[in-house]
């Protein structure tokens, strides 16, 4: 057993620490009266299918890359052909796009592979839904979110496909491009 002096001193030291802490300001953020700042690349909001801000056309070309890469296999996309777009990304569109948010693990792989920046995560503090159906993001819901992004572009997460590909560009930070396996 430690000596009496050690016991007394150690105990008083610990108690002094808690006493000092008692007079500090609390760390609690009183949500929802005060909402915390959401960082630029936040991934825990909802999803949106974006529109081209210049022409107002849907960006999704129905290529299904997001469906193939999702580890949780929650995305289902079907393709349809339509009129060629003004911004030149082609004449294919997505017919149905369903993202089951219940099983999403926010890995951002679907964002990373999208060739047209069509799918993006939003930064809004996503409100809870009252039924499971609310978590099944159909194309209408995703496009509604996309329309909201047209009005308030700051709501979109900064981690778009372009940004993620820019970071993982094999030539980044090098004076000239290199051939890599």
């Amino acid at each position: 057993m430690p000596s009496l002096g050690t016991i007394v001193f150690g105990t008083l030291q610990t108690m002094g620490m808690t006493l000092r802490a008692a007079f500090r300001r609390g760390n609690t953020v009183p949500y929802p009266r005060k909402k915390r700042r959401v960082p630029g690349q936040w991934r825990a909001g909802s999803f949106a299918l974006t529109f081209d801000p210049a022409t107002g056309e849907e960006n999704c070309i129905g290529c299904r890359l997001c469906e193939y890469i999702c580890p949780s296999e929650i995305i289902t996309v079907s393709l349809r052909k339509g009129e060629p777009r003004k911004n030149g990304i082609g004449a294919t569109f997505c017919d149905a796009f369903v993202l089951d948010y219940q099983a999403c693990m926010q890995c951002e792989l679907c964002i990373q592979v999208c060739p047209t920046d069509a799918i993006v995560m939003t930064r809004a503090l996503a409100p809870a839904v009252r039924s499971r159906n609310g978590l099944l993001l159909t194309k209408e819901r995703l496009m509604d979110n996309g329309q909201a992004l047209l009005a308030a572009p700051a709501l979109a997460s900064e981690a778009t496909a372009t940004k993620l590909r820019e970071w993982t560009d094999a030539a980044r930070g090098l004076p000239k491009a290199e051939e890599t396996p």
Binding site: Q13, M105, L109, D169, A170
Partner: protein, 383 residues
Amino acid sequence: MSAAPVEIVEREFGELALNMGPQHPSTHGVLRLVLHLSGETVIKAIPVIGYLHRGVEKLSEHLAYDQLAPVYERDDYLAPTANSNAFVLAVEQLGSIAVPRRAQWLRAFVAEWQRVSSHLVWLGTLGLDLGGALGGGTTLYMYCFRERERILDFLEEFTGTRFHTNTNLVGGARYDLDAAMAARSDALAASIKTALPELWAMSGGNPIFQERTRGVGVISADLALGVGVTGPTLRASGVSYDVRKAASYDAYAELPFQVVTRTAGDAEARFQVRFDELAESLKLVRTIVAGLPTGPIFARKPLKNPKATKLPKGEAYAAVESPRGELGFHIVSDGSAKPYRLKINAPSFKNLQIVPHLLPGGLVADVVAILGSLDPVMGDVDR
């Protein structure tokens, strides 16, 4: 098929067979310990695991390599990037994929921050175990989690999410550190360092804590090596084995750091090892930021269809030093885009094997102290 059998726990006369069941505040997850008690003394302890088994190894046979990295972060959920780091190292070994230097340093950067965060959770929950949810342990827990919240906020700024950051890709890293983020990391490391004396005073410097952990759960070096424990548990018994030095991966061959070892082998030694590792990792984070090489962070073509990434036939094993010990992935490939068999060498599973050797002879109160000092994470044990 007959009905589920009723489990009968065989016991001697005068023994109390107690189920420190899967639902318990101190078993670090869903661990079931069948304890045979005589009064307060433990006679026999049988750990029963599997309550968190999610079939991750079987799932791996179904998904492609590019899809799999975020899945493993849910195994050892307190240090997620350690899992995905080991996985991508194994895949890169199998496919002979070169990783740029800057990516290796960034992987080490996130890994060390998560080591700090994991050790803070360990310390806080050790306080909860020893002190109780209605007492001084909770105070230590709140202080540790206050520091950890700052780390998670930083990771949120850096990657977009707090825990399961998915920063490791096969072939590199995903998020790059710019000057502002690097400065923020340095400031955070400095501020957490100033909180360490406070945490020490509440735990290691507290005589009651010392009483509860000194001489409790002594693991000799022979027992440790015989059972196969790894990580801080092994280093506290005098065996200086750290995967970061023994089989260097990522940037660790170039980074200067100490392998913390103690010889006592009791719970207090394990506490000291982890606490000193916390301080080492804080120093290491600043060293990494200061010496980060320039260059790209991903050396392959941009990610497209994951089924296009086929690996040659063969097998590979790669291990990292997670906060719990040696975490290894053994992949057997049959030449396709999906693993043929993937086996995870989980440190918490190995560390838990020592429980039947350590618990007998101690009191019930020692059970929680020993479990806390072993730091098992059931997601890692059961996968």
